[in-house]
């Protein structure tokens, strides 16, 4: 026992360091996250994998790309919480406050999610309304004891692509709905604003890939995928794969994207790729601005444009490009630009879009997680499974792992201590997540999505593309 524990600790720390601390091309990663520079050394437990609670893959095979920690999806519904018996007790990086158990009762956990349903992203409200609960319903039906008899209730609010509104709805979800933790589903400025509010209140806040600059100092913030800056090397690798040596770079003019803008420039320089034209475009660029940028890109003669903007600006640029006979590959990071809703009304302009995304598309989900479609059939009320639902499913599945790992004595401090003391969380859909006390940017890879205007949807061009 005395030898086993340090060995386990060494292995776990090595895994975390490999996963999180050595991301090539990332400026400023690590070092300041966690909020407490004098945080004690944390004991990391083994990686937590998705428990098998549902159906088996059609061929019984192991899902690709997820390595040994991938879910196998075998067997009947489990009734036992899937917490590894060898988990070390979380170190006390976070101390419980007065509101530590708000949103948690013996039979319920309340989670608050906000997203820009209106304003900048063509996100169908109904997809959110249906998708936000499917995983939890599925879990309650198939593994009711995984969260120690608690059901999860999700409250959802539209932040209208407005940071002030985001803070307002986050406050409502905490004060009126009693949310235990908050989740940002998209929109960098809104996520930053709400994460800062959550940090002030000591509330755990999780979101998909965004900026690092304003989030690195927030002790309660945790990124559930690669940040935009961390994806810079992935994008430049893709540029090299396309055989292109000159690119354009268009990034929305918001401080939240400053780090990504610089990271992409640095990664391009490192990769020996010339940026022939770069600009910061208005966050809500008007037609004249879009056309002006397209003309400059066209003059520069670039074949690939790295783009970081809202989906509406992407669609505007892409369609202006088509009108001007300019159809480059639009390559970027982002959660919302890779949605099928974008191809639904952005085609034909967006046909050349390639986006890195935390989740793959529907074309491969049956291989990775056959429970997803089955759950939609069971709880979707007749609505077909869509990619917004997939994003929510993956997020909730990761949250489920985190909550289960925290244990029965659930509180905000215990939850965050668990995140920073567990070697990793692998839900089989995301690239495995890993946090430490010093690094809350937990993503390790992404999936590459390719727009297909013939089918009016994105397809998965590459799975589990890892940084470095």
């Amino acid at each position: 026992m005395t030898l086993r524990r340090p060995l386990l600790l060494l292995v776990a720390l090595t895994l975390v360091a490999a996963a999180c601390g050595q991301k090539a091309g990332v400026a400023g990663t690590g070092g300041e996250g966690g909020g407490d520079a004098t945080a004690p050394v944390v004991t990391a437990g083994p990686p937590v994998t998705a428990p098998s609670v549902g159906t088996t893959p059609p061929d019984g095979s192991t899902p690709p790309g997820t390595g040994s920690t991938a879910p196998t999806g075998s067997g009947p519904a489990s009734t036992e919480p899937q917490v590894p018996a060898t988990t070390a007790p979380p170190a006390a990086v976070y101390e419980p406050g007065d509101d530590d158990t708000v949103g948690v009762t013996d039979d319920e956990i309340v989670i608050g999610i906000h997203a820009p349903v209106t304003g900048a992203s063509p996100i169908p409200q109904t997809s959110f309304d249906i998708g936000k609960d499917i995983y939890w319903q599925f879990l309650a039906e198939n593994a009711p004891d995984q969260l120690f008899g608690r059901a999860v209730r999700v409250v959802f609010h539209d932040d209208e692509f407005n940071p002030q509104r985001a803070v307002q709805v986050c406050r409502e979800m905490v004060e009126e709905d009693g949310a235990f933790l908050l989740v940002g589903a998209g929109g960098a400025d809104q996520i930053t604003a709400c994460a800062q509010y959550a940090d002030e209140q000591g509330i755990p806040y999780l979101s998909a890939c965004v900026n690092q600059e304003d989030l690195a100092d927030l002790s309660t913030y945790f990124a559930t995928s690669l940040t935009y800056a961390e994806q810079a090397p992935l994008m430049l690798d893709q540029v090299a794969e396309l055989g292109v040596t000159e690119i354009g770079l268009v990034v929305s003019d918001t401080p939240s994207f400053n780090d990504a803008f610089e990271a992409i420039r640095a990664a391009a320089e490192e990769a020996g790729i010339t940026i022939a034209y770069d600009t910061r475009i208005n966050k809500t660029a008007a037609e004249a601005e879009q056309l002006s940028v397209v003309q400059e890109l066209k003059d520069a003669g670039v074949e690939v444009v790295i783009l970081l903007s809202s989906p509406l600006v992407f669609i505007g640029l892409a369609n202006q490009g088509v009108n001007q006979g300019f159809t480059p590959t639009w390559l970027g990071p982002g959660v919302t630009s890779g949605l099928n809703a974008v191809t639904n009304f952005g085609c034909p302009g967006v046909d050349t879009g390639l986006f890195f995304n935390p989740t793959p598309q529907l074309d491969v989900i049956d291989e990775l997680d056959p429970d997803f479609r089955a759950a939609y059939e069971q709880f979707g009320g007749g609505d077909p499974a869509d990619d917004i639902g997939l994003g929510l499913w993956a997020l909730n599945k990761a949250l489920g792992l985190m909550l289960a790992q925290t244990g029965e004595e659930l509180g905000r401090a215990a939850f965050m201590n668990t995140l920073v003391s567990t070697a990793g969380f692998d839900n089989g859909i995301y690239s495995p997540l890993g946090f430490t006390a010093d690094d809350h940017f937990g993503g390790t890879g992404a999936h590459l999505l390719d727009a297909n205007c013939e089918q009016k949807m994105y397809t998965t061009a590459a799975q589990f593309v890892e940084v470095g």
Partner: protein, 325 residues
């Protein structure tokens, strides 16, 4: 005579400001902003025409102007997706816009006829919000693809900017309408009656003209203009989202109308083009770019548009082509 000279001098000042801007763009090597300004500003100009029309006739800032177009666009989309030929779907969209204009006048404007103008302004904002809500109800806040009437995208190329048939249709429409409506208000009895009703409603009633009927006519005509702007301009971009005419076009159109002079129909077009030019210039001019002398974070184009508006109003409060009262 002195008044006439003063009036012409004012007009000359307005033209001088525009000419100075054009020369400055050529000197700065940003002459392409002129083309982009005409290309994109024509849509603002067409919405601005509707704003000016309502303002001339009733002194109201019509915040529902954009959504007259929004309703036309949704109707065009719905009819065309049901298999109705594009031309008929366009007509259907315009009829829907005119019906909304009629309903707005009958249900909202007429009961508030004697109310302060600011009350009507707020009421029209309410109409816009209601129209957007109805569109979201139908479309679930999602964007929709919308086909063009004319598919050719490179009919004319000016300074490397390809101008599509759809855009030429828009530019032609706004130019013709600006001139025709200008003549309508100065040369026809009906046009003069509308102006008279806005300035002296009691006297207009006394000479046997129904002010209320004129109001109905004006609102329906303004709705038609908003509808035209939407069904011609938006399909060129290939898609639309609910509320796009208010979120993307109303504020630039208001700016265009004020720049041109709230009472000048040709001024609305000139103002629209000016807004487009300024937006384009601010986007690409090197002084506004990273490391430039005026590297303004955020939205230099929006800021510059309002600086131009401020300068014009200081030099010429009645707008570039407007007349002082």
């Amino acid at each position: 005579m002195l008044a006439l000279v003063r009036q012409r001098a004012g007009l000359a000042t307005g033209i001088g400001i525009v000419a100075a801007l054009v020369i400055a763009l050529f000197v700065a090597g940003e002459e392409r902003a002129l083309v982009i300004g005409v290309y994109t500003g024509s849509a603002y100009g067409l919405v601005a025409l509707g704003l000016v029309l309502i303002y001339k006739s009733s002194g109201v800032f019509n915040f529902a102007a954009g959504e007259f177009g929004g309703v036309a666009l949704c109707t065009l989309y719905l009819l065309h997706s049901e298999g109705i030929p594009y031309g008929f779907a366009v007509v259907g969209g315009l009829v829907a816009a005119m019906v909304l204009g009629l309903l707005t006048e009958q249900i909202v404007v007429r009961p508030l006829f004697e109310a302060p103008r600011v009350t009507l302004l707020v009421a029209t904002a309410g109409v816009a919000l209601l129209a957007i809500a109805i569109q979201i109800w139908f479309f679930d806040s999602q964007g929709r693809p919308i086909a063009k009437a004319f598919p050719t995208t490179d009919r004319v190329t000016v300074l490397s900017v390809q101008i599509s048939d759809q855009r030429l249709w828009l530019i032609g429409t706004v130019l013709v309408l600006a001139v025709v409506l200008g003549l309508f208000f100065t040369r026809t009895n009906l046009g003069l009656a509308i102006i008279g009703a806005s300035q002296e409603p009691t006297a207009t009633e006394l000479v046997g003209i129904s002010v209320r009927r004129l109001s109905t006519f004006t609102w329906v005509l303004a709705a038609l203009l908003g509808g035209l702007a939407a069904v011609i301009a938006i399909p060129d971009g290939g898609s639309f989202t609910p509320g796009v005419m208010t979120s993307g076009y109303l504020i630039p159109a208001f700016t265009a109308a004020v720049l041109g002079g709230m009472t000048s129909l040709p001024g609305a077009f000139v103002g629209g083009v000016l807004v487009g030019i300024v937006q384009s210039f601010a986007t690409n001019a090197s002084i506004f770019q990273d490391g430039g002398a005026l590297d303004i974070p955020g939205t230099p184009s929006t800021l510059l548009v309002f600086i131009v508006l401020l300068v014009v109003l200081v030099i010429r409060p009645q707008g570039l082509l407007g007349r002082s009262s």
